[in-house]
Amino acid sequence: MKQAVVKINNYKWWLMLAFVTAFQLLSAMPVVFEDKQASAALVPIFAGLIAVEWAYFIVNRLITKRQDFELEMIAFLLCGTSIVIAASVNTGYALKQLIAVLLGLAAHIVLLIILRNVDTAMFLRVPVAFASIGLLVLNLLLAKVTNGTLNWIEVAGFSIQPSEIVKIAFIFVGAVTLEKLQSTQSLTKYLVFSVTCIGALFLMRDFGTALIFFFTFVVIAFMRSGDIRTLFFVSTGALLGAGLVMYFKPYVVTRFATYRHIWESINEGGFQQTRVLIYTASGGLFGLGIGKGKLRDIYAASTDLVFGVICEEWGLLLGLAVLTLYGFLAVYAIHASRRASSTYYSIAAVSAAGLLLFQAALNVYGITDLLPLTGVTLPFVSRGGTSMICSWALLAFIKSADLYRQNNNIKPSVPRAQPQNTGRLPSTGNNSNSTGRRQSG
């Protein structure tokens, strides 16, 4: 067991990166050679992606002296897939997607620098919280109706999804240090912030993102309090709220009416899901070949339905491999959180990984009718700038736990000898319980 761990830690990062590059070249080839005109534009795009990858890892290696880049490798693998699919639809999409990756990488690095000092992060929490709410309110005021939801803002020709940006803030604000945890045992302020965000998303009719926020809130609340009872009350409250929404806004229910009944309305409510299943089955285990699918002709193929395109054209096995990558991100985050030098990193890493995994599940299992279809994107893979940038920023939370870890030279800021009770209930509660038991006995 120990040997296996050592082996994994001693892997050659450049070998792994060479593998990522090879995979990207292989998958890009059919698209590049498909059409001579497009290839002139596509070659620099793929060359650019690969150059950025190598540059990032080499510089990173020189500066941080680290070589555990698993997280970035996963992200780049997924981004490569995203760009290939975008390129196979439209050359312009590929360029936009590459730019999104670069912006995402920049956001990732900036966030890591900010997070380097936990005190800075703690100090910024309140302004970030207010800025987020401001952004959502602005969105509500300015946004125009797009695709039945109100979650886009047009800025200088680019459409931006504020809810994606607020996802980052949601974790940034939610994570806290141990000192803070011990000084305030209440979640109230964060609860108010969360309810405001989720409420705004409901008003935008972006139920998928609202669900993601709620799930992330549950993760953060659990990480902070460790109290199942709080979670129980929160969940009951959420259910009650959802019930009220359904009662007063019946259209919410009709939106999910086709769930598990998609074959009865294959040209209406079940249109996208049935096509995903039909073409996923058509692809078999090994796929029909990149660009040879039919799902790509369906609306939102390279955004919401991108997993179906992967299964049809690259094969179910590759689709499952993509899912495994998300699973690996989460497992990595759990391990990293245990080594982190501050509770802030631990909470941020676990909740960011939870968010990414939950969103991937909502997307993949939503379009395949295992879960209701909510129209959320697949992190790192769906075409779309804000989604890509947000995915990279969220990855920074996981990376921070890994990068700013406890080590033998630097003692953690909080000595281990300090009291460990971070539960919400005062210890007297426990005592009275035990007295009660004694009396009855």
Binding site: G226, T274, G327, A360
Partner: protein
């Protein structure tokens, strides 16, 4: 700190749920993928509602029964063969549920779980299906049935191969009649393969079952004297016999299909023994023919009195039987008690020329006749042809068999039945003929059986 890190482990719950989702997705794809991929909106397979380049279907001798020319589906060249094989081959629109086009839709369209529709895209066609169906016998059966409704089935009781399953009314799929929806009388049940899905009152062919019960339970059955007065008085009413057969023994009673004797024997044996025999012969069971399921017969004496029991033992009362079931019973008797399940698909060959499926038979588990009883039944059935129907009606076939003239509702002619098999070692074939409202079995079913079998000699 420690608490927080321990709490992180809770995320494993989500990881496990996430992968459980992946497993469920894969399993549902494995189970339903064929159905999903062959949906009419799949643009890999369908163009304008028509299957693009599906695989071909061939008869036993390699004759084409269906093939694709681009998006156009073509059928057998011979018009009579098209009509005769309509229910076996089926239609691309899916009206004929037990047809190859419906049952083997995935294979014809080139789908497999592993390759998806890749082979279709790569080779431009799906898998080919080679049937065990003999075109000559099918045409003979179709022509012999003429304008009658009914069915003819022939299968090899040593291998399970179905050589002929023709069902009428039928139509020429290349020129589908426009009046099917209006002309309900003429096209009654036209989409049903009566051999597999039909249920008929069996009449006297049921005496084979009653005879089996008698052979197994009455030691002196062959030596016992019987007398037929043209009717049998029971405690609850009268079972009539078409003739007054007078004094006769059991074999003669079988030859002459005497109702009085068989009703008497059944009442003597009692409900339990007759029911047990019927169940052992699978008269209340359905079974698989390839991937299609036969109709499930009924032979139930639960609320029967003596009169009902008497009538049931000669194939009346509430009894309903499936023709395919009867042919497997004949096959089992011919084959020393071992009933082999019939199949019509010899092999399925993928575009890469590999055989992906081979038709196989299994020993039927819902049909058991012991070897001694089977031998005695065989002798009785041989005696029927030799002493009653006449070998001249089956030239050179060494036939064994039993006719049936099943009374149906008042004012209608009875159904004409013949079930039997050839004893020739080089011709191990069992046959079933049902002519709906066709009159007497001996008069109208036997000639059809003979014509079809002669086509196979």
């Amino acid at each position: 700190m420690k608490h927080t890190t321990k709490r992180a482990l809770a995320l494993y719950v989500l990881v496990v749920a996430f992968f459980a989702g992946a497993v469920i997705l894969t399993v549902t794809l494995y189970v339903n993928g064929g159905n999903w991929a062959s949906n009419r909106v799949n643009r890999h397979l369908y163009s304008g509602g028509q299957l693009v380049s599906a695989g071909s279907i061939y008869a036993r001798d390699g004759e084409v029964l269906a093939k694709s020319d681009g998006a156009k589906r073509e059928y057998a060249k011979n018009k009579a063969l098209r009509a005769a094989t309509l229910h076996t081959v089926g239609d691309t629109a899916g009206f004929i549920a037990t047809g190859m086009h419906s049952v083997y839709k995935q294979e014809l369209s080139g789908y497999s779980f592993i390759n998806g529709v890749y082979l279709l895209k790569e080779y431009g066609r799906g898998s080919d299906i080679y049937l065990t169906i003999d075109p000559k016998a099918s045409i003979a059966a179709y022509q012999a049935l003429g304008n009658n409704k009914g069915t003819v089935g022939v299968y090899n009781y040593k291998t399970g191969e179905i050589l002929c399953m023709v069902s009428t009314p039928t139509y020429d799929i290349a020129n589908k009649p426009k009046d099917i929806a209006e002309n309900l009388e003429k096209y009654e049940g036209v989409y049903m393969n009566r051999f597999i899905s039909g249920l008929y009152t069996p009449g006297s062919v049921m005496k084979v079952m009653t005879a089996a019960a008698a052979i197994e339970n009455i030691p002196d059955i062959y030596t016992r004297p019987f007398e037929c007065t043209g009717k049998l008085q029971t405690a609850s009413g009268v079972v009539t016999c078409p003739s007054v057969h007078g004094k006769l023994d059991f074999e003669k009673a079988m030859n002459k299909s005497c109702n009085s004797v068989f009703a008497q024997v059944a009442i003597e044996l009692g409900k339990e023994k007759i029911q047990a025999q019927a169940d052992a012969m699978g008269l209340n069971a359905a079974f698989k023919v390839g991937r299609a399921m036969t109709a499930k017969g009924t032979f139930s004496l639960a609320t029967a009195n003596d009169l009902d029991l008497g009538w049931a033992s000669i194939g009346q009362y509430t009894t309903l039987t499936n023709p395919c079931r009867m042919i497997t019973i004949m096959g089992a008797i011919a084959n020393g008690g071992v009933g082999l399940s019939p199949f019509a698909v010899d092999r399925i060959v993928s575009p890469t020329k590999t055989v992906t499926q081979r038709g196989t038979t299994t020993v039927s588990t819902v049909l058991t006749i012991n070897a001694v009883t089977a031998q005695k039944l065989k002798e009785l059935l041989r005696s029927n042809v030799k002493n009653s129907y006449g070998d001249s009606r089956f030239p050179g076939l060494q036939m064994c068999g039993k006719t049936g003239t099943a009374q149906v509702q008042d004012g209608k002619e009875p159904h004409a039945w013949f079930v039997g098999f050839s004893q020739r070692a080089d011709l191990p074939l069992a046959v079933v003929v049902v002519v709906e409202n066709g009159g007497s079995g001996a008069g109208n079913a036997i000639p059809i059986a003979n014509k079809v079998l002669q086509a196979l000699v």
